[in-house]
């Protein structure tokens, strides 16, 4: 514990990360609106990251590129540079580790740092330490970040969004509830539009409003699980920064097609490809799954999904493929082309636990073969080894 009697957590969020990385290596892109996601020819792409000048004109992440083009026709539109962001992400992480060993990366552009035990090296001045980290990133990598400082993770995360870009926000220790009370509910990480809409119907606009009602009201009247929301509004959340991240609950991958399609052969290939990529990841973290969910998005943006739980855990794509095809087939509707296909693996277990051996099927042999293929693909690229099923794509 710090001298404050609680932990000191930093949430460091890189500012417009992809766009900043691009500007760092191509300074000529600076001082003009920039949209990373695709060139003006890539009409079906979506915005991966706009810089702050583009954001000022209303461009947002995940917006269709065509809409962004209408908003800021003068912006530079570029495709994302392969490998650049993970490279920068690694460099940023190296800087974090210079200051504390307790780092929990949340994604390529954000991480929690627990600095409680190292604060005495900086005169117990958490703001000073945040500035040192921020300045080092800025001077060595030419990109900026925003830091939220709080006694727990959620407050730190909300804090990092509070003063963007290039800002530091301290959520006053012991006064978290008051700090959050006046913020609107869209600031709560993970509260999606559907939840927000439900809450707004009951006059819950600000985070403080959440405490007007109790848990049973939310569960019975609104039909949402609110332990999380009530804890946030009370300023409570976990302060455990785990180097290995939270336990992973699922792993998913999805793809939007260049054009809407109902070509079943193509969709099967795509499905196999998505499963290959997920299973490759499962194998790399020595994890197995037994539940698959296939998700489709139709041309009219309506979404449908179906799941299947098998009898055994596996991370071999062929073990799931036939069931996945069956799930997908159930959702293929005449005259409704798909624009997106996705797959999710859930009910994950670490290691070999609970694997049912099969006398006619050498599970290890298949898995070992795929692991070798994974290695080759990692060294060269995915396309050097292909199965017949993915030839079409």
């Amino acid at each position: 514990m710090s001298e404050f009697g609680h932990k000191i957590i930093f949430h460091i969020d890189m500012d417009a990360f992809f766009a900043s990385c691009e500007e760092a290596i191509r300074p000529e892109l600076k001082n003009k609106p920039l949209v990373v996601g695709g060139t003006k020819e890539d009409k079906r792409s979506i915005v991966a990251c706009p810089n702050y000048l583009a954001r000022a004109k209303g461009v947002r992440t995940a917006m269709p590129l065509t809409k962004a083009m209408a908003l800021v026709p003068e912006a530079n539109f570029i495709r994302s540079t392969k490998g650049l962001y993970s490279d920068y992400s690694k460099k940023v992480r190296e800087i974090f580790y210079k200051y504390t060993p307790v780092v929990q990366p949340m994604s390529v552009d954000e991480a929690f740092l627990d600095v409680t035990e190292v604060l005495h090296l900086h005169n117990n001045d958490h703001i000073k330490l945040a500035e040192i980290i921020k300045n080092e990133i800025k001077s060595t990598l030419k990109i900026t970040c925003s830091i939220g400082i709080a006694a727990n993770k959620i407050c730190a995360k909300i804090g990092s969004k509070f003063n963007k870009p290039d800002g530091i926000t301290v959520v006053p220790f012991g006064k978290e509830k008051e700090f959050l009370a006046e913020l609107t509910i869209d600031k709560i990480p993970g509260a999606g539009k559907a939840t927000q809409d439900k809450l707004k119907k009951y006059g819950i606009i600000k985070i403080g409003d959440i405490l007007k009602y109790n848990k049973s009201f939310y569960e019975n009247e609104i039909g949402i699980h609110t332990s999380f929301l009530i804890n946030v509004a009370s300023g409570k959340s976990s302060d455990k920064v785990s180097e290995f991240g939270e336990d992973r609950k699922s792993l998913s991958k999805e793809n939007t097609f260049w054009e809407d399609t109902d070509d079943r052969d193509f969709l099967q290939s795509e499905l196999y490809y998505l499963m290959e990529r997920c299973c490759q990841k499962l194998r790399s973290i020595n994890t197995k799954s037994r539940t698959i969910t296939v998700k489709v998005k139709y041309f009219d943006f309506k979404v449908n999904q179906k799941s299947f739980t098998g009898k055994k855990y596996s991370n071999v794509e062929t073990d799931f493929y036939d069931d996945a095809v069956e799930l997908m087939d159930k959702m293929l509707v005449k005259k409704k082309k798909l624009r997106l296909l996705g797959i999710k693996f859930s009910e994950l277990v670490k290691g070999d636990a609970a694997m049912q051996e099969n006398m006619f099927d050498d599970v290890d042999k298949k898995e070992n073969l795929l692991k070798k293929i994974d290695k080759i693909r990692k060294k060269y690229n995915y396309d050097v080894v292909k199965f017949g099923r993915t030839f079409k794509i």
């Binding site: 009898k311 855990y313 036939d322 277990v349 636990a353 609970a354 694997m355 049912q356 051996e357 006398m359």
Partner: protein, 379 residues
């Protein structure tokens, strides 16, 4: 067509066919039972197109004829008129009239020609099995049949007719049940392997009351006749996996354990195990076996200890074996244990990733029965 019959007799024979009548059929005619009367012999035929079942009963025939009668309604009415004598008459328009001493019921039937008929082949191989053997061998193996639709070659019971052995084998890849009749007398030159579909096997077991059976088959079709029943079925047109190689020959740890103690323990363990993997851990040492199950998702766990001993091949106690841990799907292990008919059973192990083999402590005369179970990884 015209005949008289007692209500309970008709109900008994109709209900034999009930299970083959599809609950939802694309062919509405299959909702019917075909009645075919010649003299005093009434043949009833029902089918789901894969399997045809025919039963024959004695009635008081008055006029020969054939007609398809809606099965459900006929069965319902005959079940409520068990003690009555029914007089059944069918007119030219396939209308069926059932009369009792004080009632009259009419059902609309279908032309007999619309009802499909099984293919009658003349050049089939034939073997005769006493009813006890046929039913017993099916029931010892059928629980291990694969029920998922993907692996068709395992979705039935293999009947392997050999020079001087008859084998029944079933497997789903996770367990395998095999029973051999050693004193089987070859009845002709045939040496054949056929796969009897699961559903056909189930019908045979249900209808056969240890009656001697006449089994006729070629590569495609099977006809089984016993008592007053004939069952026609397609065989599974695929090759059964080569199972002999996967049966371990060198399982060196042989454990003797009480059947009832082990099966009761497994039943309790199942309550606490993960609902899908049903994994139980067995921690085995000479003298005792600890059976543990847990399901962290619902915070449940259970464990108990039962007595057991290591034995050598000759059956005497073997003190040299070191303790080990192995895990199984408790349902599979329980299925296997339940099939053993001796008070004590033997389970042999190699290591924790190799198949275990359960056998009765003493085999029945001229019989060799084993059940092999693949373990679940201990993790």
């Amino acid at each position: 067509m015209k005949f008289s019959v007692k209500g309970d007799k008709l109900a008994e024979y109709l209900s034999k066919l009930n299970s083959v009548i599809p609950s939802r059929s694309p062919l509405p005619i299959l909702d019917n039972i075909l009645f075919d009367l010649k003299g005093n012999e009434l043949k009833l035929l029902a089918s789901d197109l894969e399997i045809f079942i025919r039963t024959t009963l004695e009635v008081e025939g008055k006029k020969d004829g054939r007609v398809a009668i809606p099965a459900r309604r006929l069965l319902d009415i005959s079940r409520t008129l068990t003690s009555a004598s029914l007089s059944v008459e069918v007119n030219d328009k396939n209308r069926i009239t059932i009369k009792t001493s004080n009632g009259k019921y009419t059902i609309g039937g279908e032309p007999a020609e619309d009802f499909p008929s099984p293919e009658e082949k003349s050049d089939l191989h034939t073997i005769n099995l006493d009813g006890h053997t046929f039913k017993r061998y099916l029931s010892k193996t059928i629980h291990a049949v694969n029920t998922d639709e993907l692996r068709r070659n395992m979705s039935g019971v293999l009947m392997d007719v050999n020079r001087n052995e008859l084998k029944f084998v079933a497997t789903d890849g996770f367990r395998l049940a095999k029973i051999i009749k050693k004193d089987f007398k070859k009845q002709s030159e045939i040496e054949e392997k056929i796969i009897i579909p699961l559903k056909t096997g189930q019908h045979i077991m249900k209808l056969n009351n240890n009656d001697d059976s006449n089994i006729e088959f070629d590569d495609i079709d099977l006809k089984v006749s016993f008592s007053d029943v004939e069952i026609y079925s397609k065989l599974i047109d695929d090759s059964f996996p080569s199972y002999e190689n996967v049966i371990p020959k060198d399982n060196d740890k042989i454990l003797k354990v009480s059947k009832i103690l082990l099966s009761d323990s497994l039943k309790r363990a199942l309550i606490f195990a993960d609902v899908i993997t049903k994994r139980v851990r067995l921690e085995i040492k000479s003298g005792s076996m600890e059976i543990k199950a847990d399901n962290p998702e619902i915070v449940s766990e259970g464990e108990e200890t039962i007595e057991c001993t290591f034995v050598s091949n000759s059956g005497s106690e073997d003190f040299d074996k070191s303790p080990f841990v192995i895990a199984f799907n408790a349902s599979y292990l329980l299925d296997a244990v339940s099939q053993m008919e001796t008070e004590e059973i033997n389970i042999s192990f190699g290591n924790s990733s190799k198949a275990a083999i359960t056998t009765p402590s003493k085999q029945a005369d001229n019989e060799d029965f084993i059940e092999l179970i693949m373990p679940v990884r201990v993790g």
